[in-house]
Amino acid sequence: MFESPIREPLILGHKTYNQITTDLVSPILGRTSWKWYVTTAITALAMFAGFAAIAYTIWVGIGTWGLNKTVGWAFDITNFVFWIGIGHAGTLISAILLLFRQRWRMAINRAAEAMTIFAVICAGLFPIIHMGRPWLLFWFLPIPNTHGSLWVNFNSPLLWDVFAISTYFTISLLFWYTGLIPDLAMVRDRARPGSFAHILYSILSFGWTGNAKQWQRFEAVSLVLAGLSTPLVLSVHSIVSFDFATSILPGWHTTIFPPYFVAGAIFSGFGMVLTLMIITREALDLKDYITLEHIDAMAKVTLATGMMVGFAYATEFFIAWYSGSYWERYIFLNRAFGPYWWSYWIMVSCNLLIPQVFWIKKLRRSPWFVFIISIFVNIGMWFERFVIIVTSLHRDFLTSSWRMYKPTWVEVTILIGSFGLFLTLYMLFARFFPVIAAAETKSILKTSGDQYAGLSWEAYQAQKRAGVFGSVLQPAHHPDNPSQP
């Protein structure tokens, strides 16, 4: 098949099918590095600290947080929207980029989808723990009950959230796991027969044999799930934005919110994917699969969505002025120049100004530089939600109720704990699952492998030397691991 010479190869290192299998299975079946233990211990510690803070909150009450009569939501819902946003990259990559036939997605979709699931787990935590009486969570569900006419309120965006997020989680989980099945079978086949790993991966791979009928059904299911996921990319964050958009609070009551939130979600999702993938490709020595081309492409998406978000910021200000509404004008001026001005300008700098460096190709292709920018994106997008929630609430209509909000150690610990939970899950994922969709990658080897795209071995070697990070997971010696060609 002819491949355009201007299109860069997506798989480097003159890989064969066998080598792909080896590269992806060896971190799983090999010996665990002490670095993995140390890293996981740290993230797990953060996670358990967060759990302890949550337990304290539930035991004592929401009063342990810094909220007050005026600011009823702050860190809790900020974290919720932040984590929901993080998940969006995975869905976008697996569904939308699939529709657009973006083959570069294959190197990153597995990890990104895993992040989606972990992020939704983190996100789902917050609406539960922010409740005054979380033990009554089941009242959110429209289950037949003996309470007479009591039913849920279908007018409430919070209820829409329940459906949106549970659907999102279910579809994402199914999609991710379905894709994993052939790769889990691959790990099973490489494991020593009779070993624990062999038994475990046999169970996890649901008896996959790779025959034609299975592949046919696999493809069919993947297609259905991709079709289901596609609207979710747009719907989930739109619905989350309705929490604010359908209210009457200036700064919340904004029709621009659904597209603005979706763009922001993809922006933040790609930020997080970049953060983790740059580490992963170094740690697991996957630079041949997650190439600079991939990082470049993701940086472009980040730049584009970042500017969409920036455009939304500008639009909000314009409409606030253009509406002639005193309340709108006040709340936006207060955002930029009120007591929380610093959070607004952190948001603008991190989301709009700093990503502008991605116009420069050289910087887009510098992994550690992109990594730093991706951290800024994460910070900026957290602050975006903080700005929307807290600055709108703390000074609304009646000046008598204006109040400042300050988080307590409990809220900060829960935020750290949510990162701990997310990273712990990701560490477990990276250790026990193939982080790259092997079966799919193999499907594009003959079109996007460097040897087929005309990249010379010498040129590849030069790229290889560009790596800067040490390896967390050492690839163990494997009898099948051949020496370089």
Binding site: V60, G61, I62, G63, G66, L67, N68, K69, T70, G72, W73, P127, H130, M131, G132, R133, P134, L136, L137, W139, F140, L150, W151, V152, N153, N155, S156, P157, L158, L159, V162, D243, T246, S247, I248, L249, Y326, Y330, N334, L393, D396, F397, L398, T399, S400, S401, W402, R403, M404
Partner: protein, 1009 residues
């Protein structure tokens, strides 16, 4: 039937092939069930419920009884109705039969029910600080006092003003048992100057009876007569009578206030002028001199002080123009100044029109001179015994060290007190006093007006009333009730008979507009029964003439205080509405009630003007040391617009060392800063103060952190002249508002609504405390208020104007020149029960429902606590239970221990942690009234349902009722051109209509730009 012809082989089934056969199975079942039953047997769960063995037929469970009674804490007098449920008093209402308050209440009256259930009250007498028996406090103690008397030593009884005629008689009788006895009336905030002046002028040591309702021009010089001065609830009601702009009435009284520190009276005045405390005497003298000029009389001296704008001359002109309908009142401790005020009122022909020496007011009887004499005698070792009844001079006497030393000389010290307060702790014998709700009694607050007090509950602790103690000491065997009944039969009943006879003969004019039917006079018993039911016996008559004054004004010229014209800082001591002189400082409801002016709860502070703050580089919450005449206080700063530029305002009543669960550790005691005048009286203004900044800050518990309303239109105002031209002045209609809702919900029956007149609201806070009592609102304490988590369902927002109408910056208070003062507004804010309530749509579990009567109903047991509703409420009236406030161990200020729970209203759910709550429009009252009407098979009458806030309001600013009834008061008020909805442009369609504030003054006169 074939298929069931054989038995099912159960036995075989259970025994065959199983290790356990059927019998064993049943045994195991039996053991399990019986052990589960045994394990479940713990203590008897219900320990405190006691059945009625014989239920009194007149008491129905769940039906409240109301008993008329009398509240007097030494400062605030109130005729009240006590709501009793299942034998427990749970709420205080004003007595509508009383011509003074006519149903209105003061915050302190409302809160008084809480102290009844305070377990920190004295529960038995104390001897040397140890619980003792009443037997040792009876005759043995009396013998000890008699022994002192026999040694020729003086016996002193020190009390607050004794308004009870029966107690007064009993005290006189008791005092006769001794050779040298003195009954002294002591008050922390003394009105001795006013009393002395009137004694000198009219020969009667009484405070005059004021009639603010008769006054068209009122000039108050530092007297907070709507909040704390003398009889504020009565005065507020009277003042409000001339502030009603309904229908065709286009006139208002004109109220000018000169004061150093803003009070609710000043903020409600048409014109308020901030004057230094040192200028207060100058205002009085200058006003007199100008009035004398206008009257063609000789001036007292050449004092012609005035503000740069000429406010004193302006006041003089208005007063003079309204002679006969003018009134001047002042808070001044110097008798000479009060005499000048009295001469001023004489010039204005006010005596007999707007104030009366006959009948006089008996609420104040103190004598500072007598108390000084007591200390001198005690120091000279001439006092054998002293009895402190309801007074706490070791806390409130400015020279308490001297008093304490003097007390050490007295062999027998007795305190008769509700609490082991500062004075009681220094006394050898402490006699635990009844709470007033446990006592019989009577009162004569004004000459000719009698009220009765009856117990609403049996004594909770081993306590006695003073009457019981005295009767015991006198060796009389009758009970308090028997004594009271016989006293009334002997004294009040004949007096009332005579009064009625004179009435029927047309020989006397009633002082108040008669609104009640006369009491029966055929027998003393019937009279007593009806009087007790009504609680009030009004025999006040208007004498044909008032006493003539003695002497002439110039007699006082030599006794006038020296004018301090130095420009030093002056400490000015004042009282707050909730705390007063500190007697009730132990009441958590009152501590949690934010000061209406500063909106700070739980502390006092140094109130300074923005000008001084800028000059000294101070801001709110900075710590300072205020030093004056050798006394120093460390206080946080509160920058209060309207404070005179060289004034440091400090509230009294704080820094208690004992007396009630909330008293200790709150604020600093400012009483030591009182200074003696040359006349011997203590004055609240002390010059030559210094202010020194201390490191660090002290965060005040402010419920409102933004002082201005930023020009937003939920506050609307106009002037009387504008209003006279156009009744819609300052107001505007919203344009056509489009609704997203496609259908209106029919409200065929009632549609509850409210109007709140900003012109009548004086910010006194009675409604806030009433709401706390009615709706079981928790007290969260200082730290939680600091965090912005107070639970009040109704709050009174206080706004200042800023120099620029739409300014959002608080520092833009007019602070450019000393006389600048921003206009102020009080806006009661509570759930608006919106028809299109934004809170209702966002609740995911439908915990907020809209009733067919227009109520926005929070369903506590359905609430899961997402707080989405509170975020979406534009009025920010929703309150979240951040913690389990019912946990009595942790929330020490919330009165929910075993005893404290008794105060809870059983008709209102106590909310759990994690639940949102808010104003319900007192739905329990609505339901109760509807049931009554239904039982009587008649429609509900207008005015039958009163919300707690409405009922408490002394000025009638709040009106509640059925908007579907076009003739209801609330409908008529809502149709007034002054009506507007707060934040109407949001189209949430609130049910509360505010009425534009109208000032009897041009705005340019009051606004300083």
């Amino acid at each position: 039937m074939e298929e069931f012809s054989r038995d099912i082989p159960v036995e075989a089934l259970f025994s065959e092939g199983l290790p356990t056969n059927r019998r064993d199975f049943l045994k195991w079942c039996g053991i399990t069930i019986s052990s589960a039953v045994l394990a479940a047997c713990d203590k008897t769960p219900v320990k405190y419920a006691l059945p009625y063995v014989k239920k009194p037929p007149e008491h129905l469970p769940t039906v409240a009884d109301y008993y008329a009674s009398t509240f007097f804490d030494g400062q605030i007098f109130q005729s009240v109705l006590v709501k009793v449920r299942e034998g427990r008093p749970i709420k205080i209402e004003g007595n509508p039969s009383c011509p003074l308050n006519r149903g209105g209440t003061h915050a302190r009256g409302q809160a008084s029910v809480l102290t009844l259930y305070d377990h920190t009250r004295l529960q038995s007498p104390l001897l040397d600080g140890q619980p003792a028996d009443w037997s040792s406090m009876g005759a043995p103690l009396m013998d000890l006092i008699k022994a002192q008397d026999a040694q020729g030593k003086a016996i002193y009884l020190i009390t607050p003003p004794i308004v009870s005629p029966s107690l007064e008689a009993l005290i006189k009788e008791w005092l006769k048992a001794f050779r040298q006895t003195h009954h002294i009336v002591y008050a922390a905030e003394s009105y001795d100057g006013l009393l002395t002046a009137h004694e000198a002028l009219f020969g009667r040591r009484v405070v005059p009876t004021y009639r603010f309702d008769q006054a068209q021009v009122i000039v108050s010089i530092a007297a907070d007569f709507l909040g704390t001065w003398l009889d504020p609830t009565t005065f507020a009601r009277q003042w409000a009578e001339n502030r009603q702009l309904y229908g065709d009435n286009k006139s208002l009284s004109y109220h000018i206030q000169f004061e150093p520190v803003p009070t609710i009276t000043g903020l409600s005045a048409d014109r308020r002028i901030a004057v230094e405390p040192s200028e207060v005497p100058r205002v009085i003298l200058s006003l007199y001199n100008r009035l004398a000029e206008l009257a063609g009389q000789p001036p007292l001296n050449d004092e012609r002080w005035d503000t740069p704008k000429g406010d004193v001359a302006h006041a003089a002109q208005h007063l003079w123009a309204a002679r006969g309908k003018a009134l001047v009142v002042a808070r001044a401790h110097d008798p000479a100044l009060q005499a000048v005020v009295a001469w001023m009122n004489l010039l204005l022909e006010a005596y007999g029109n707007t104030l009366f020496v006959e009948p006089g007011c008996r609420l104040r009887q103190e004598s500072e001179e007598a108390f000084d004499r007591f200390i001198q005698e005690a120091e000279a070792n001439k006092v054998g015994a002293v009895l402190f009844y309801q007074v706490n001079p070791l806390y409130s006497y400015p020279q308490s060290d001297r008093l304490q030393a003097a007390l050490g000389q007295i062999p027998i010290t007795v305190a008769i007190s509700l609490y082991a307060h500062e004075t009681a702790r220094q006394c050898k014998y402490v006699l635990a006093e009844n709470h007033y709700l446990e006592s019989w009694g009577d009162a004569q607050p004004y000459e000719g007006l009698y009220t009765l007090r009856q117990p609403a509950i049996a004594k909770i602790f081993s306590t006695r009333s003073l009457e019981e103690i005295l009767l015991n000491w006198l060796g009389r065997s009758e009970s308090h009730l028997e004594y009271l009944q016989s006293f009334w039969a002997k004294n009040i009943y004949p007096a009332y008979q005579a009064y009625r006879k004179a009435q029927e003969a047309g020989k006397s004019t009633p002082f108040w507009k008669a609104s009640e039917k006369p009491l029966p006079t055929e027998s003393a018993e019937a009279f007593w029964n009806y009087a007790l039911e009504r609680g009030v016996v009004d025999m006040m008559t208007l004498p044909p003439t008032q006493p003539k004054p003695k002497g002439k004004p110039t007699d006082w010229a030599t006794r006038l205080p020296k004018i301090d014209s130095s420009s030093s800082l002056t400490v000015y001591l004042y009282e707050k509405v909730g705390i007063g002189d500190g007697t009730d400082a132990g009441n958590p409801w009152l501590q949690e009630l934010p000061d209406p002016v500063s909106r700070v709860a739980w502390d006092n502070y140094a109130a300074i003007s923005p000008l001084l703050a800028r000059e000294l580089g101070l801001k709110t919450n900075d710590r300072v040391r205020v030093t004056v005449s050798g006394q120093a206080l460390e206080l946080p700063v509160y920058v209060l617009p309207g404070t005179a530029p060289k004034t440091i305002g400090i509230a009294l009543g704080y820094g208690r060392k004992g007396g009630g669960r909330a008293a200790i550790g709150v604020g600093q005691n400012a009483f030591p800063l009182f200074q003696r005048l040359p006349s011997g009286h203590f004055t609240s203004a002390t010059a030559q103060a210094t202010l020194e900044k201390l490191p660090g800050e002290y965060v005040l518990a402010r419920v409102q952190q933004w002082e201005t309303y930023a020009g937003r239109e939920y506050i609307r105002e106009t002037t009387l002249s504008e209003y006279a031209k156009n009744p819609k002045a300052g107001n505007y209609e919203e344009g056509e508002l489009i609704s997203l809702w496609w259908q209106e919900h029919p409200q065929p029956g009632h549609r509850w609504g409210m109007t709140i007149d900003l012109n009548l609201c004086i910010g006194c806070g009675a409604c806030v405390v009433a709401c706390m009592a009615e709706n079981n609102i928790p007290v969260v304490g200082r730290d939680e208020v600091r965090r912005g988590r107070e639970m009040h369902w109704i709050r009174i927002d206080r706004y200042f104007t800023s120099t620029r109408g739409h300014s959002d910056k608080p520092e833009e208070f007019p602070a450019a020149s000393p006389e600048d003062f921003p206009r102020a507004f009080f806006q009661p804010m509570l759930c608006q029960h919106c028809d299109h309530a934004p809170c209702e749509t966002v609740c995911p579990v439908l915990a907020i429902a809209h009733s067919s009567e227009g109520l926005n109903q929070q369903v506590y047991n359905r609430c899961v606590g997402t707080r989405y509703c509170a975020n979406n409420c534009p009025y920010k009236v929703r309150r979240f239970n951040w913690f389990d406030y019912t946990n009595a161990e942790k929330w020490v200020f919330n009165p929910v221990d075993q005893l404290g729970r008794m105060v809870l209203n059983p008709d209102v759910t106590v909310r759990a942690r994690g639940v949102m709550e808010k104003c319900s429009f007192c739905v329990q009252r609505i339901q109760a009234a509807k049931l009554e009407a239904k039982k009587a098979r008649r429609p509900l009458q207008d005015g039958e349902v009163k919300t707690a806030c409405q009922q408490a309001c002394p000025t009638g600013a709040i009106v509640f009722g059925d908007l579907n009834d076009p003739n209801s008061l609330v409908s008529r008020r809502a149709a007034e051109p002054r009506g507007y909805y707060a934040l109407a442009e949001l189209n949430v369609r609130p049910s509360i209509r505010y009425m534009v504030k109208v000032r009897n003054e041009s705005l340019s006169e009051t606004q300083n730009t």
